[in-house]
Symmetry: C3
Subunit: 259 residues, 3 copies
């Protein structure tokens, strides 16, 4: 069974296909599967969440190539992470860390010589010249030249919500294509503090705690535990992000509705 490389980027356009060409040139029967190439440009936190969420559903042995890299061309290191279950390749800016931690123990390596695949490394497209070749070699079972183990990869987490009484204050991690707002508040916290059908208040807007979109009424905010396990704010028949004025990083305060 040939290996799998997943691809998670903010590239858009033709750039992911260029990487697939490089991968096919190095490891012809490795399959590539796009997780997404439409991340908001430079939004490392959003990318890290998507990678952590999606990578959990791929089989052991998968190599995850992820690039949201506003520092391309700077001194930021190029990372390879070899984990118990799977591998990660991408920039050393925190993007890979939540996913790497979620899959078990791992070791992190810097790619010390970026020109291991081509002598002409573009300063603006490490995806093509550094990261894709490294991922292809790993997926094909070959060593990436020049790896040096490091113990200080740049870290990133999604923050911890604050809880006071039955009020939970977290933040928006990202907004999906439906306008649903994904937060850093765990679905378990919702279930611990609220009952299904309870009227809530989200940043001052009336809402209801439900278990599925199906239960809600048109025209009201819904709070539910999303499929990724985190609290999500939805709006039946529209965009919760628009209705409640929420975007990435914004604070979300959920509290029971005052009587």
């Amino acid at each position: 069974m040939p290996g799998i490389i997943t691809i998670t980027t903010d590239f858009g356009g033709v750039y992911p296909a260029i990487m697939k060409g490089v991968i096919a040139s190095i490891a012809g029967d490795v399959r590539t599967i796009d997780i997404t190439n439409a991340l908001p440009p430079g939004d490392i936190s959003h990318g890290a969440f998507i990678l952590r969420y999606a990578s959990g559903y791929f089989p052991a042995g998968t190599t995850h190539l992820a690039i949201v890299d506003p520092g391309v061309g700077s001194e930021r290191r190029a990372l390879v992470i070899i984990g118990e279950a799977c591998q990660f390749v991408g920039p050393d800016n925190g993007l890979l860390m939540p996913a790497a931690r979620a899959q078990g123990r791992f070791r992190a390596y810097e790619i010390t010589g970026l020109d291991f695949y081509t002598k002409k490394v573009s300063p603006v497209f490490h995806g093509r010249d550094v990261f894709a070749p490294a991922a292809a070699m790993i997926a094909a079972g070959r060593a990436v030249p020049g790896l040096k183990e490091i113990d200080d990869p740049v870290d990133l987490d999604f923050g911890t919500p604050e809880i006071e009484g039955a009020t939970i204050a977290g933040r928006v991690i990202y907004v999906d294509d439906f306008g649903n707002v994904v937060t850093n508040i765990g679905g378990d916290a919702l279930r611990g503090f609220y009952y299904l059908g309870e009227p809530l208040d989200v940043n001052g807007w009336p809402a209801t705690f439900v278990s599925t979109f199906f239960e809600g009424r048109e025209g009201e905010l819904l709070v539910l535990a999303g499929s990724h396990g985190m609290a999500e704010i939805a709006y039946k028949g529209g965009s919760a992000a628009v209705m409640a004025g929420l975007s990435g990083g914004a604070e979300v305060v959920i509290t029971p509705k005052k009587a």
Copy 2:
């Protein structure tokens, strides 16, 4: 030769990739091919047309995974359809039926125990926890546990145009990415009632019956038999949907131009 699973959804975002991860975990060498993941949310009729059209071009043995599922989390049944030529997996809301009928005889089954793959079935993402696992098992030649044959799957058709004299009244099934309007009027009906080059009237707008986009003039509505066999309204150099104010479900009345 490994099996093929096609994917047709209104999911957008990262959700199709999650399903591909689940499929790769169950059936590593099954290939997935996206038909589309950009259907208008909840538009079952549009999805059903696309699935019927596209599935006809895939080889026998293909498993078609299709999800437009506004009722997810409700009591709607989860369907497996085993046909003479190919298989279908998705919600029991009519989405699969036109495609299933078009491929020959078939039997329909309800998935009675939704937790056959994971004990924690998300009420909001049956694609990941129910439909993708079922499609992967079928494509890998394994039995899906708990199937029960049913004889009353929810049906759907695209309606039958009304014909009076040389006037055909049908409706819009969907609008494609070029703004071309696809109707439920068969291309054969066009050819039966009109001659190539004939001036027509479409909902009061001047139009011409042509056989290809190439023949039309810039700035005029064109009526032609589309590649899917249905009558299509196009506008050279723009969007017919915008120019003629047509969207999904709208009535389309085609008649010869009055002298």
Copy 3:
């Protein structure tokens, strides 16, 4: 190792998937990789550049299926190009030529009988009925019936910039998803005439010659040699195309800033 077919079109929607179904029906284990299906409709020059750029990264033996075909249904010929390194299939309108030339020597063939795969060739979807079947046969090592060698395929090039003193006048080939403007000015010309960090003037707008996005300041135009080897105009924190009013075909004049 199964063959690879790349796909480059302006189709959008479900049409690329239909072609993948046809390809899978003819050559089940050939893999398809999308280069892009979101080219601006009918923009042959843009498509030719993308195909030339991307095809260079795919392994020898790859078959490139490319369709930007405003003349579909007219008398334009259907082309197969067999090159030293790889093959191309698409309309005879110049789309394939820059890529074909870049890969070495080649021979060009007209597909004389378009109905070699299906007797009902749609006049509006040669992608499905002519080009995809031809590409699948080639990728599977089978002969396409009715090929006739020709010596006059329609040609296309990207023009040659004019240089006067240290002023370079070229033109926009296309604008990418970030709003970066790709020109027909070679990156080597930039390096020959300007020094890194030199203040420039682009169509009257202040700019700086840099080697990476990382070096530029927010809110200024950047001129750099892009990853494809051509001069690119970028805007830190926004769209250079919007900021400088540049779109496909527009003239771009780069000159050192007057003191």
